[in-house]
Point group: C2
Chain length 429, copies 2
């Protein structure tokens, strides 16, 4: 089929009629499918059921240094889980704090602490007239929700396949003292699945922020979440790079096992410089006596070491790779050449980013919803939920079964075609 933009009014009208028929067929199926969030599917969760057998009532519950993991104490995590998470994050265990079940919570708390107490002796953000964050777009809605909640002004920065537009980042960060941070998902980014290039990471490490308390919020959520054995992205380790560049304190790096074991019942961690660690622990000691050490021990006993964890990730990939491939195949088959949408083909992570024709995303999502397929809300990938082009849609292929996913993906392409053709027709009128 030829590009919609080259069709005559008659051709487009015929296309709308044909696609509408297809859409009606889907509507009659009364689907209830969810492609809205990056949730692992049941089979993925089953992979970690061994966690439930990792600790028994007869087991020794002491960790390497003799601490009874069942009692109070150990503010920043037991040593062996620091080693495991350190290997996973490519950081020194001594530069890691182990937290509770949610890295989002760690990020929230990091912003909250900066608001009330400032970073390393600088003025608390709540005492400043204006605090701003850079937000690579499209990006992760829950990041944006945190900064929005704290009244932080969000400035969109366009993403490229190499990472955020670094000319713009450098320009803004070096010229505006009110800019205190930037949200990054540097590997298999949410939603595009892009990984920052070497040059991008090196430029990040060499930023010269006007604000002394500017920090990069480096959410490495998908660090080991590859889809393929060979076709893997490689990301330069940012803490090392910052140290080398003479900017050791520039980064807070976050990670978790949420999409490795159980979302909501895993382990979150933060890696950062010695100075930042002192600053953070000075707060953390007032917030808690310590996080869940039994769950830390459980994870260590389950995985053994990083090799056990990497083997485990291969099993995840085997389950979700066919889902990504199915979506890509269906998109290719039904949309290629029509000039009404572009999408990413990531090597890892949890999402595919779809860019529809301008002004079509909301309508596409609404149409899919009406036919029983829930997508991430259009606009969600932008600060304040406002995509100025109304174009970006995040596709989350992992949660539905492969069969359901195929149905949902096909319906999605039908919605894209219908909405696009109708829009072009309207523009002709």
């Amino acid at each position: 089929m030829k590009p919609y933009a080259e069709m005559t009014k008659e051709e487009l009208t015929a296309e709308v009629q044909a696609v509408q028929k297809e859409y009606n067929r889907y509507q009659a199926l009364e689907l209830h499918l969810d492609m809205s969030r990056g949730k692992p599917c049941r089979e993925q969760l089953d992979l970690s059921m061994g966690l439930m057998d990792a600790l028994h009532s007869g087991d020794d519950m002491t960790c390497e240094d003799g601490t009874d993991c069942r009692n109070y104490g150990v503010l920043d995590g037991i040593h062996e889980v620091k080693v495991l998470m350190g290997d996973m994050m490519e950081n020194n265990p001594d530069n890691i704090i182990i937290y509770g079940n949610s890295s989002l919570n760690v990020m929230y708390d990091t912003v909250a602490r900066a608001m009330t107490h400032g970073i390393m002796g600088n003025t608390p953000w709540c005492k400043l007239d204006k605090v701003k964050f850079l937000c690579p777009v499209p990006g992760y809605d829950r990041h944006f929700a945190i900064t929005e909640y704290f009244g932080i002004e969000m400035i969109p920065v366009p993403m490229t396949p190499e990472g955020p537009d670094m000319d713009m980042v450098e320009e803004l960060v070096s010229s505006d003292e009110a800019i205190k941070g930037i949200w990054c998902v540097p590997k298999y980014s949410n939603p595009q699945g892009y990984s920052y290039s070497d040059l991008t990471v090196r430029r990040f490490a060499r930023l010269k922020p006007a604000a002394k308390d500017f920090r990069i919020f480096w959410d490495n959520a998908y660090g080991i979440h590859h889809l393929y054995d060979i076709k893997q992205d490689y990301l330069i380790e940012i803490l090392q790079e910052c140290k080398r560049a003479g900017n050791p304190d520039l980064v807070y790096k976050f990670a978790s096992t949420s999409k490795i074991t159980f979302p909501g019942s895993g382990i979150a961690a933060l890696a950062t410089s010695d100075n930042n660690l002192v600053d953070i622990k000075n707060q953390l000691k007032n917030q808690t006596i310590g996080h869940d050490k039994v769950n830390q021990l459980r994870h260590v006993r389950f995985f053994g070491d990083i090799h056990g964890m990497m083997k485990h990730m291969e099993k995840h990939a085997a389950i979700i790779r066919p889902k990504f491939e199915a979506v890509e195949e269906i998109f290719d088959e039904n949309l290629t050449g029509l000039g009404i949408g572009e999408w990413t083909k990531p090597n890892g992570g949890y999402f595919i980013s779809f860019d529809a024709m301008e002004g079509c995303a909301k309508e596409i999502v609404a149409k899919a919803k009406k036919a029983g397929v829930t997508l991430t809300g259009a606009g969600a990938t932008w600060p304040y939920g406002k995509d100025p082009k109304d174009s970006n849609i995040r596709i989350a292929p992992t949660y539905p079964t492969l069969e359901d996913l195929k149905t949902a993906a096909k319906l999605f392409t039908v919605c894209v075609r219908l909405v696009s053709a109708q829009k072009l027709l309207k523009e002709m009128a």
Copy 2:
């Protein structure tokens, strides 16, 4: 033996010499005992090892409403754990939010939220010139650490066996708009083991605060932590009482299973009014996707229901009751009639509060430390760590073995006698 105050200089000198000899004998033992924190002992932790068998790899991980507890979601906790914690806290499950592993963390976050966003539409505390909290003394050092960390001015209010001095509380709360909260451990208080009387609770529920955003921080940490079968304190349920008094939004009530199952690996909860819940969830949804539901399910499967939990608490009591009794017996035997100290005899909780002669607490704690027994730092039970009379010492009998505890308690009485006699002698000189 007669009261020290009635002794002649010669008698006191002889006493000092005798007690010093005893002290030296203890020092020679090279003890390493810890009575500093309210930590359960090993035998208590062993009681909950069944938790480790409560969920196996073959088990169904869905909760009553069909939610897979292994995946993301459920911001405020699964229903069945709300029921269990609701029964424990004597609150409606619908008025409960289930959190992570630490009620201290919940209290911290509650203060942090009030700082940055205010309570129910009121001015964020960080925008106010002055924020004050009332602190019943002696009290819990980690409470005071939170308010100190946020720069909140702490005003000590004397505790009585009936609870805080309510004349003073009413007077202060109704006259000063800067007073935004009060820290309470209403049952088996930390450190005295006092429980608030009916009248105290009713007066709390009927406070007329000058500040619309005044809240009672009701940390019911020891709600079911009785030492005896019959000799149990009864505490009126505060949320109900506030509702009845027309002050439904006055209280945040906190609890956890930290001293029921594993400290640091249990479940924390907050109970409060519908209005407060809406206010809190509006923040919480930005902080996390949800807390550890697998651990919630594990606790429900382990206990079954509140009856299982109460049976479990009887086992705790059987282990720690002899420890409290041993301390009381040793104190009675070695200190009664000397007029150099008073101590509480609680029916529950984790502590005994000891009041030495004025100006002696620090020296007693230091002497015990020198002989290898670590006590809670003198002053810790007061805001800013400053006990104006240098008199109060918190005794935590649960952690050491019974034998060790007896040694530590005896040494403690030796230290009290030595320091008191020396002080009186010095005053004669």
